[in-house]
């Protein structure tokens, strides 16, 4: 074969071998060829639950970020938000694949993303809230990336599962960019005009309601919960200081997405996310 075009290369038939098309084959498995053994002594139920929940956070966040396409204040921000969503979608794919490997069901990424009911999702409530105004989306991304970076930094160093550890190590690098984007905008708006500062301050108060939920999530699976919370608070305080914003008092939302207690906003999000897969079962696209 001499054609340089990758799609032709993909479509090239190879007699006597497995199909080589990129879709509907092993090629869509993002952990293709990774050693999937689970080390002895690892609680597979807990590991699968942790991977699923972290995957749910990423998928739901990616869906919300994608909603900014054609709606962001500047073209560059649409590109940025879509890129951040794409990183999270990639993390979700890896995490779901790992969850399906260790939970004994053999489910793949699509089973987790498209064939579960909204009530089965375990994402943070913060992640599913509507985008609101740009300040709210920035504040949410700030809190979410701060927590996810701190959590993944710990998991990369200390998860007993080498696959989750490797997924986390990769995500740390991406999430650092997400955090910087959100922090830059928090400062620009918080230390901007009177109007932008007011909106950014209000957004920080809105997301602070969910700080306890965020800091508690991921407290299992070899994570130091105290260190995690301290890292999150220290980072948020620093950004608020530079942004000349008052650090908001953590709120008291008692419900937990990790326990399946969701807002009324999750079900419509999942319905839209799954609409094509539900309408055309088994469709490949």
């Amino acid at each position: 074969m001499t054609d340089d075009h990758v799609y032709l290369a993909l479509a090239e038939e190879h007699e006597g071998t497995d199909a080589r098309w990129a879709f509907g084959t092993g090629f869509e498995d993002p952990l293709h060829g990774v050693d999937t053994d689970v080390p002895a002594g690892v609680d597979t139920v807990e590991l699968a639950a942790a991977c699923t929940a972290l995957g749910d956070d990423a998928l739901v966040s990616a869906q919300r970020l994608a909603e900014w396409c054609t709606n962001a204040p500047e073209l560059e921000d649409e590109v940025a938000l879509a890129n951040i969503g794409l990183d999270l979608l990639g993390q979700a794919r890896l995490l779901y694949t790992r969850a399906g490997q260790v939970d004994g069901t053999g489910r793949g990424e699509d089973d987790f993303a498209y064939l579960r009911e909204a009530s089965e999702f375990r994402n943070l409530r913060l992640a599913e809230l509507p985008n609101g105004d740009f300040a709210f989306s920035v504040a949410r991304l700030l809190v979410f990336s701060t927590w996810r970076l701190a959590l993944f930094t710990q998991l990369a160093a200390s998860s007993p599962d080498p696959v989750l550890s490797a997924i986390a190590a990769k995500a740390v690098k991406e999430t650092t960019y997400h955090l910087r984007y959100a922090a830059d905008w928090t400062v620009r708006l918080g230390d901007g005009t009177e109007l932008s500062a007011r909106k950014m301050g209000a957004a920080m108060e809105q997301v602070a309601v969910f700080l306890d939920e965020v800091c508690e999530a991921g407290a299992k699976s070899a994570v130091d919960a105290v260190a995690l919370r301290e890292a999150v608070i220290a980072q948020l305080r620093h950004v608020c200081d530079v942004a000349t914003l008052v650090y908001p008092a953590p709120g008291q939302d008692p419900l937990r997405g990790r326990d399946g207690q969701h807002t009324e906003y999750l079900a419509p999000l999942i319905e839209e996310l799954q609409s094509l897969a539900r309408a055309l079962p088994g469709a490949v696209w």
Binding site: M1, D77, L86, V239
Partner: protein, 175 residues
Amino acid sequence: MSAVSVQALARQIAAEVADPELPMLTLEDLGVLRDVELTADGTVIASLTPTYSGCPAMAEMRADVDARLRDAGFEHVEIRTVLDPPWTTAWITPDGRRKLAEHGIAPPTTTAHAGAPASAGPVLLQLSPTRRAPLPCPRCGSPETEETSRFSATACRALWRCRSCLEPFEHVKEI
């Protein structure tokens, strides 16, 4: 041919596959080709590492390496994904950096090295008015450049512009 030269041939074929998004780079230049082995039964095992978790080009890279090796006569080909150690821009080779610059893309400023990069990962992001040293413009060499967006058409690139020649340019951002 001896097993060593067959392995070397397989390695060379895999190494020359072009990146789908940055076609001036081979997978070797980009640093995503980690290893090519030849097993005793003649199976070629090529190990690739993803750049970004969500990079859509990953499946194409896998398919392309597989197709090129089969096309070269290797009947049994296996593509493996390696996640650890994670890819960083430090894996882009000096050759790869030169090619990027030649094509008007500012290469990452992290130093290239062959081994596994060791980074503990930042814990506290420090915000300060002082920003990174500006990149030299890949077209005119001027240091009078500025970042316009840290995100671009693909996950690995950022948008910059030159205040001297007024041209926009892309930068493979450090990760």
